[in-house]
């Protein structure tokens, strides 16, 4: 029995000993970092900041997705699809873009940066980066929904008052955005480790010109708020001016911005996205080469000037639009950089046809087009994220709009530093746009495009044309039409030109079977890509300028006794 007692005692001792080993159950995650211990160095701050890049700087996307380029904003008057994109028809049950995850991410970032052990200069720089991304997000939210609740800190789940806050006035939000951008412009470093691949002061300024131009024109055309419009446009102009004055950027070959294997030494890209075979690749190059594609509308093609600087309706050089050779004779050279100018690619004849027979090759790199990396989703060409050319266009338009609001008048110098710089670009060499009184002029002779929208002043009309051409297929057109309050341009019934392509005669292609190809006049005429009447997009309700708020959110607010107001018309 003695032995037994000892054994039982030993048994209990072992159990008790193990039980006292308290650390045993304290095992934090081994390969995961936690918020409490993460914010210890500038390197960590920088790593966190890269998390914003994928959200905002999509470039050409990756795999088979692409960013805003080419078809990113396909609902417009440039893009003539067989099944055209339509406006939102229904209020979504949930989702619909009404998300504040990025706002939260930025707010957490800004908050944590303040206590990271590093120089005040670094704290300011990274605060600026955080506020820059918060500004981008709030610009996205306001441009989509108008009034939105504004938050500048991470919310607590118990803080119902803030969680269920009413929507803040658009101008209130945009004033905050402006303040964020101004702070960022002042504090973000002018030079960072990898300029061109990281956000620096000039990236901030370039985006500031884009965002403030958007909001300034919105305030003017939608809200009639001259004060705010002037303030935002002044900010846009100032930001663009800062970029110009820096002297860091210049223009090279137009197409090289879009089809280069490397943009590292491209003088025009303020920020670009690097692609590399086997790591991150895209499919836009292939799409411009191998695949059937959606083509450019007749309306877009007609907006290109002749190379004497005059609109086609006025230029003696214009050869009409029958046959690709005629279309492409003596035009603004940017048309050759953007479009395939020596052949029509007709559905039923060419495998890589275009819906309008006019194909795009702006994003095609000819040297790799037949290699594996030129095909499928293996394309390694770098993508511009924001470029000097756009900043110049932002400058020109902001300056012109400020003049319409009683501010400084638009000077020839304003045009020379912007539009005319673009026209002087190597390989373009288009005659300068001049100001003659309130009219545009070429070679000292004022002109007025007979095809001008009569509600748009002639000089502004030319600036908007320049913007459309310079930024063709870069994903700006829908946003531009929205802020100008010109969504009626995308109504396909009112504007049949935007649903037409190249002019062809079926009899010219005797061996091909083109029976199902719809032309404007039977066996000849302009190709009509969207031939079914039911598929035509109409613009009959101005509510689509703003997106609807999802139903579940309205219900959630209602349960709390708060009204989350729906946008007008929805």
């Amino acid at each position: 029995m003695k032995v037994t007692n000892k054994l039982v005692l030993l048994f209990l001792c072992i159990i008790a000993f193990v039980g006292c080993e308290d650390d045993l159950l304290d095992v934090p995650p081994q390969d995961l970092l936690v918020d409490e211990t993460y914010w210890t160095s500038e390197g960590n701050v920088k790593a966190f900041a890269f998390g914003f890049y994928s959200g905002y700087f999509t470039g050409y996307g990756s795999g088979y997705t692409w960013g805003n380029y080419f078809s990113g904003q396909s609902l417009n008057d440039d893009f003539a699809a067989t099944n055209p994109a339509n406006f939102t028809q229904q209020v979504p049950t949930s989702g619909g873009g009404w998300s504040f995850a990025w706002v939260r991410k930025a707010n957490i970032f800004i908050d944590r940066v303040q206590t990271v052990p590093m120089e005040q200069e670094a704290i300011n720089h990274w605060s600026g980066i955080g506020r820059f991304f918060r500004a981008l997000e709030y610009h996205d939210l306001t441009s989509r929904f108008g009034d939105v609740p504004y938050f500048d800190k991470e919310l607590s789940e118990e803080d119902n008052e803030t969680l269920y806050k009413k929507r803040d006035e658009r101008t209130f939000v945009m004033d905050k955005v402006l303040a964020d951008l101004q702070f960022a412009a002042e504090n973000v470093r002018a030079s960072v480790d990898d300029n061109g691949l990281e956000v620096n002061k000039y990236v901030v300024l370039a985006y500031m010109s884009r965002i403030m131009l958007y909001e300034g024109t919105w305030q003017k055309y939608h809200e009639n708020n001259t004060t705010k419009a002037s303030e935002y446009l002044a900010a846009a102009k100032w930001a663009a001016q800062e970029v110009i004055n820096s002297g860091n950027y210049s223009l090279g070959n137009y197409r090289e911005v879009f089809n280069s294997l490397s943009l590292a030494s491209n003088p025009e890209t303020i920020l670009y996205k690097e692609y590399e075979a086997g790591l991150i690749t895209h499919a836009l190059n292939s799409y411009n080469n191998k695949e059937p594609q959606t083509g450019l509308s007749k309306d877009a093609i007609n907006s290109y000037l002749s190379n004497d600087g005059l609109p086609i309706a006025l230029s003696p050089l214009y050869q009409g639009d029958q046959g690709i050779d005629n279309v492409m004779t003596d035009r603004d050279p940017r048309i050759y950089e953007t479009l395939v100018s020596n052949e029509l690619r007709i559905n039923g004849i060419a495998a890589n046809h275009s819906t309008t027979a006019i194909a795009t090759h702006k994003f095609l790199n000819e040297t790799i087009k037949d290699d594996p990396e030129g095909s499928s989703n293996l394309n390694p060409t770098d993508a511009p994220i924001i470029r000097y050319g756009e900043v110049l266009m932002n400058y020109a338009e902001a300056a012109a709009e400020i003049a319409t609001l009683g501010g400084a008048s638009l000077t020839q110098n304003d045009l020379d530093v912007s539009i005319n710089t673009l026209r002087d670009r190597p390989g373009i060499n288009l005659p300068h746009l001049e100001i003659s009184g309130n009219s545009p002029a070429i070679g000292g002779v004022a002109y007025d495009d007979p095809n001008r929208d009569p509600t748009v002043p002639s000089l502004l009309w030319e600036i908007r044309r320049e913007r459309r051409i310079e930024l063709m297929m870069e994903g700006f057109r829908l946003d531009d039409l929205k802020r100008w309050k010109k969504l009626d341009y995308v109504d396909m019934v009112e504007n049949p030109d935007i649903n037409q392509g190249a002019w062809i005669v079926k009899a010219d292609y005797p061996t091909a079977n083109l029976t199902n190809l719809t032309l404007t006049e039977g066996d000849e005429g302009y190709i009509i890509p969207a031939s079914a009447a039911a598929s035509l997009r109409v613009f009959d309700d101005p509510r689509v300028y703003l997106s609807p708020i999802p139903l579940d959110q309205i219900t959630l607010y209602k349960d709390q006794g708060v009204v989350l107001e729906q946008n007008p018309g929805w």
Binding site: L32, W98, E157, N513
Partner: protein, 1074 residues
């Protein structure tokens, strides 16, 4: 040795031998059953010795025994009650063995101990391991399918070397954590990560602990039940015995979809795409063009050459054509014939040695398995070696020690995948239309998966498990035993992948320009090593104490266990191989990549159990466990989980005696208890900022970033799983028929879930709280029957049936979207429409609008080109409002949608029937699922999912004005959607995945003793068996009824049905013991 001691020892030995030598005699006799029928093979042993024999075919025996008054013989045979007979002065004895109350005296393994089956109070099933016998199965789990009610075993594809999913009493288990209701699988009391590493031949016993009362002794790890497996260890006093068995089998695929004939498929495709683009003359898919002329040419080709062997070389004009620079193909191919071996071989060899002396017993098992895959070139293969060694020894009369070594090593080889695992060669075998070119031009092939597999190097994946177990049992006094066990367990998995560069006519990119070029991404020109390894150290200490005081029996168990687990994963990759035939890291020049993971957790628990029996009829068991885990918030690491169960054996009462033998045994039992679930997501406890690649390159480096930290969690504690189980065990007609029934309700409370629905302004998902609640309700029934006829024919049968449903009973969700979790949701439910019929012309006015009285389906015409017309699906207007709609997609306002089915398997059953007669034996095992619905995805399920890709034979029956009674609607470009236009989830096309499968039929013959004795063999049996022989299923499309989204396939559910096929196999083998 000192001289003085020698003499006495020698004298002692002499006395002993003299005693044995001088006093033996021969006893003969026969053994019969209660009906006088001789019983062959009865084991007879002289008590307390190793001396023994067996009865022959006529139940006769003869044995030499010491001639004294004390000799006792022990007669035992499976299925009969053991009997001891004192021989005294008899020379011939006749023994009648009565059939045992089947299994009731059998001892069943339970947590930290054993229990007689009759005294069990919890829901514990012991599995007859004979069901694993003679079957060409590679792992235990597959063999257990349908055997025990409550256990659901599924495999989403027939991929070799892959673990099936094992669930117990439920499918989802809890919404709070991952993994579902997966039971803890213990081999010799220690968790095993993969049942593939256990050789079925080494298994001695399997118990399934189902209710909380049985598993609570395992605490937090046993939340979803426990499967206890013990391996063989040999028995004491048994002469060495060698057994050898083998199995050779050949397998062939079960149901797989078949691509439609070339022209028919292309015609459907045209009909479909022309609805979207009426003007389309020709369409292209990966470099091939299709137009009406091509369809005519395909038909022509079929007429002229269909069925002929034209060789692989393709002839221009006949097999393909280049028109206007476009590439047209006319010839039909059957990639499956080119790619798949009709019969894939498999073989299995097992050898064991076991036995024991008075003090020691041992077992050595060796196993080899070689399973061949079905690819014709570069076939995949699975090979496994097992070693299992066990030694138990008594040091003295109160100390036992044991040691056990378990080792398993398996190697899977398969061709390198140039693409993701989601789109493997199987997917491509039926991806393209029949005219996709598999032939050659000038001996060189087009880009296709067969040539890719041919060009691939082989991946090699080696998995090994090594386990060392050391333990001791101390029995210092009668009825007390103290056990210590330590197990060190290491799992290693190493994989080597070597890619390369693929060459072909890359017509995808180059169309008619036939140049033989490299086309694979440069990223695949690489070598990669993946390694993961884990260490698990488990220490257990527990004592058992039995005490009997008059009619009261007590059994005490008390102890603790500790488990430490660590895991590492690492991969390294380098690109640009110098020589693809020698893919090594040192022989590559390009970019290098590394990555890794790490995990670690510990648990500690203390447990106790008291069993009490009053007169062996009233039974009570109380369990408790105090459990700690490193996987919970630091202030709530400990949990206490008690349980209680009780049983009442009514047949022990005198008032029940009159029912005997009609009702020979009846026990009612019930249990109630709770267990914790420690499988918490780390993100629920910590504000994790997990690292990932940002997708933003700087000078070729993918910048690392970290995620936004989640919401600050409230302190989380265990999810508690409470089970109430009520059951009965009964035996009828002198124990011939047995019945076990259980009803249970399992409640997961404190379920990790959002405590509240927050608006989007919150910016992240709500923090997890111990808020939700879920319930599983189910029942299980098992029947067994056994009978022996006078002519020696014995039959036996078992049947199992079980069912459960899982329901959310508490959940924070105010919007109650029908696609989200909400209170009242039955898990697996499928919302959809009721199919009315096809539209006819009469349903529309001439302008295309709906005729009067026809419900409007405008809601689903939103895409600019799709308008419903004759031949399209007309849905039922259930709420009669004249419009087909989904309301607000919420419960209570779901328009015409309703729950049309459920994807949870219901009424799972298994039926086993066996018979043997004079050495011949037969057994048959069927298994099935009574009801399961599925709304699948992808082209096999939805015609026109991607119009340019393959259409299938079974989709040819589609609506045309001439064929209005078709199964499928008018062809349409479904644009990769399984929830739009004609294929909104609906009753008509909802897959009926119920099935009855003939799992196995085995015929065997054991040679009689008269022959085997001459061969010096104890037992020799030959058998032939068939596995997965056929199935009866309601499934409307040619897929195996068990097919599901594979792990890789969940990345793209359109791969549905195009996975590594399930297989039927035929096998034969022998079993030999010496």
């Amino acid at each position: 040795m000192k001289k003085g001691f020698q003499k006495p020892i020698l004298f002692f030995l002499f006395l002993c031998s003299l005693q044995m030598w001088g006093q033996t005699k021969t006893v003969t006799g026969e053994v019969v059953d209660s009906e006088g029928i001789p019983i062959p093979g009865v084991n007879i042993i002289v008590k307390n010795t190793t001396n023994g024999t067996d009865t022959d075919f006529d139940g006769k025996f003869s044995i030499q025994i010491p001639d004294n008054d004390k000799t006792t013989l022990v007669f035992s045979s499976i299925g009969y009650t053991k009997q001891e007979i004192a021989i005294k002065n008899q020379n011939f004895i006749s023994v009648i063995l009565s059939t045992s109350v089947e299994g009731l005296d059998e001892v069943v393994v339970v947590g930290y101990g054993n229990q007689k089956k009759r005294n069990l109070t919890g829901a514990v099933a012991s599995i007859n391991t004979e069901i694993l016998d003679s079957r060409p199965i590679t792992d235990v789990a597959r063999g257990l399918q349908g055997v025990t009610p409550g256990l659901t075993i599924t495999s989403p594809s027939g991929q070799i070397g892959e673990n099936p999913t094992i669930k117990l009493r439920g499918n989802v288990g809890t919404l709070g954590t991952g993994g579902g209701a997966q039971p803890l699988i213990l081999v010799d009391n220690v968790e095993i990560p993969s049942l593939q590493s256990i050789n079925p031949e080494d298994i001695d016993e399997i118990s399934v602990l189902k209710d909380a009362a049985s598993t609570s002794i395992y605490g937090a790890r046993g939340a979803w039940g426990v499967i206890l497996i013990t391996t063989k260890k040999g028995s004491r006093n048994k002469a060495p015995s060698i057994t050898y068995s083998n199995n050779f089998s050949w397998a062939t695929p079960t149901n797989t979809p078949k691509v439609a004939p070339a022209a028919d498929g292309a015609e459907m495709a045209f009909a479909a795409v022309n609805r979207r683009i009426p003007s389309l003359q020709s369409y292209g898919v990966v470099g091939m063009r299709i137009d009406q002329l091509a369809i005519e040419k395909m038909r022509e080709w079929e007429q002229l050459y269909g069925g002929q062997d034209l060789g692989m070389e393709m002839v221009e004009g006949r097999d393909y054509e280049i028109r206007d620079g476009n590439l047209f193909f006319y010839r039909s191919w059957e990639p499956r014939k080119l790619f798949v071996e009709k019969w894939a071989p498999q073989q299995k060899h097992d050898l064991s040695l076991s036995g024991g002396s008075e003090k020691t017993n041992y077992y050595l098992g060796l196993g080899y398995l070689d399973q061949g895959g079905v690819y014709k070139t570069n076939p995949d293969e699975y090979q496994r070696y097992n070693v299992n060694l066990s030694v138990n020894s008594s040091v003295n009369d109160w100390i036992d020690i044991r040691a056990k070594v378990l080792h398993s090593n398996s190697t899977t080889t398969e061709p390198f995948k140039f693409g993701s695992a989601t789109y493997d060669a199987w997917y491509y075998t039926t991806r393209w239309p029949a005219f996709y070119p598999y032939g050659t031009i000038d001996g060189k092939s087009f880009r296709n998966h067969i040539s890719e597999v041919e060009q691939a190097k082989m991946n090699e994946n080696n998995y090994s498990l090594s386990r060392l177990n050391l333990g001791t049992t101390l029995k210092p006094i009668k009825d007390l035993s103290i056990n210590f066990d330590f197990t060190h367990d290491r799992v290693e998995e190493h994989e080597k992948q070597v890619g390369g560069t693929l060459y072909a006519y890359n017509f995808w990119a180059q169309g008619a320009d036939f140049s033989y070029v490299p086309y694979s991404s440069a990223a695949y020109d690489r070598v990669q090593y993946n390694s993961d390894w884990s260490r698990r150290n488990t220490a257990k200490a527990f004592l058992n104490y039995d005490k009997e005081i008059d009619d009261h029996k007590f059994k005490l168990t008390f102890g603790g266990d500790l488990e430490k687990y660590e895991y590492w994963y690492h991969y390294s990759q380098r690109r640009e191989l110098l020589n693809p035939d020698q893919g090594e890291l040192a022989l590559a020049t390009g970019d290098q990549f590394v990555g890794g993971d790490r995990d670690k957790w510990n648990t500690l628990g203390f447990f106790g159990r008291v069993n009490y029996a009053y007169k062996d009829k009233l039974l009570l068991e109380v369990n408790a466990r105090y459990d700690g885990s490193s996987r919970l918030s630091s202030d709530k690491k400990w949990g206490y989980f008690p349980s209680v169960s009780a049983g009442y054996i009514l047949t022990e009462e005198s008032f029940m005696e009159s029912l005997d033998p009609a009702l020979s045994f009846l026990k009612l039992r019930g249990s109630y208890g709770s267990v914790g679930n420690q499988n918490t997501y780390l993100s629920s406890i910590y504000r994790i900022m997990s690292s990932s690649s940002s997708g933003w390159l700087i000078n070729g480096g993918n910048q690392l970033t970290v995620g936004t930290p989640g919401a600050l969690p409230s302190s989380l504690t265990w999810e508690t799983i409470t089970t109430l189980d009520i059951g009965l065990d009964a035996k009828f007609f002198n124990n011939k028929l047995g019945l076990t029934f259980d009803w249970y309700k399992r409640t997961v409370s404190d379920m990790h879930s959002s405590g509240v629905t927050l608006p989007s302004t919150y910016g992240t998902s709500s923090p997890r709280r111990n808020y939700g609640e879920m319930q599983t309700n189910g029942w299980e029934l098992a029947l067994d029957f056994k009978h022996q006829f006078k002519n020696d024919l014995r039959i036996n049968a078992t049947a199992t049936l079980s069912d459960f449903t899982e329901k959310i009973t508490k959940y924070a969700n105010t919007t109650k979207s029908i696609y989200s979790n909400y209170e009242g949701r039955v898990l697996g439910e499928i919302w959809g429409y009721e199919t009315d019929r096809f539209f006819s012309e009469a349903d529309f006015n001439t302008d295309g609008s709906y005729a009067a009285g026809v419900p409007n389906q405008d809601l689903y015409e939103t895409t600019s080109w799709f308008n419903y017309g004759a031949g399209d699906i007309k849905y039922k207007d259930i709420n009669g409002d004249g419009v087909i709609d989904y309301g607000s997609n919420t419960v209570g306002d779901s328009g015409d949608m309703k729950v049309i089915g459920n994807s949870t398997p219901r009424y799972q059953y298994g039926i086993q029937i066996g018979a043997d007669w004079k050495g011949f034996d037969f057994s048959m095992f069927m298994q099935g699922v009574g009801k399961r619905d599925f709304w699948a995805n992808g082209p096999v399920f939805i015609p026109g999912f991607r119009y340019g890709e393959g259409w299938y034979d079974h989709q040819l029956d589609y609506w045309t004005p001439e064929n209005t009674n078709a199964y499928y609607p008018r062809p349409n470009d479904q644009q990769q959607s399984n929830s739009s236009m004609n294929f909104l989830p609906q009753t008509k096309y909802l897959l009926d995945m119920s099935y009855l499968r003939m799992k196995n039929i085995t015929f065997g013959y054991s040679f009689p003793k008269s022959i085997t004795n001459k061969m010096n063999v104890n037992r020799l049996r030959l058998y032939a068996s068939g596995e997965n022989l056929f199935e009866i299923s309601g499934v409307q499309i040619p897929v195996d009824p068990e097919v599901d989204y594979t792990n890789a396939g969940t990345n793209d559910t359109s791969t549905f049905g195009r996975v590594y096929p399930f297989r039927r196999s035929f096998s034969f083998g022998l079993q030999l013991s010496l």
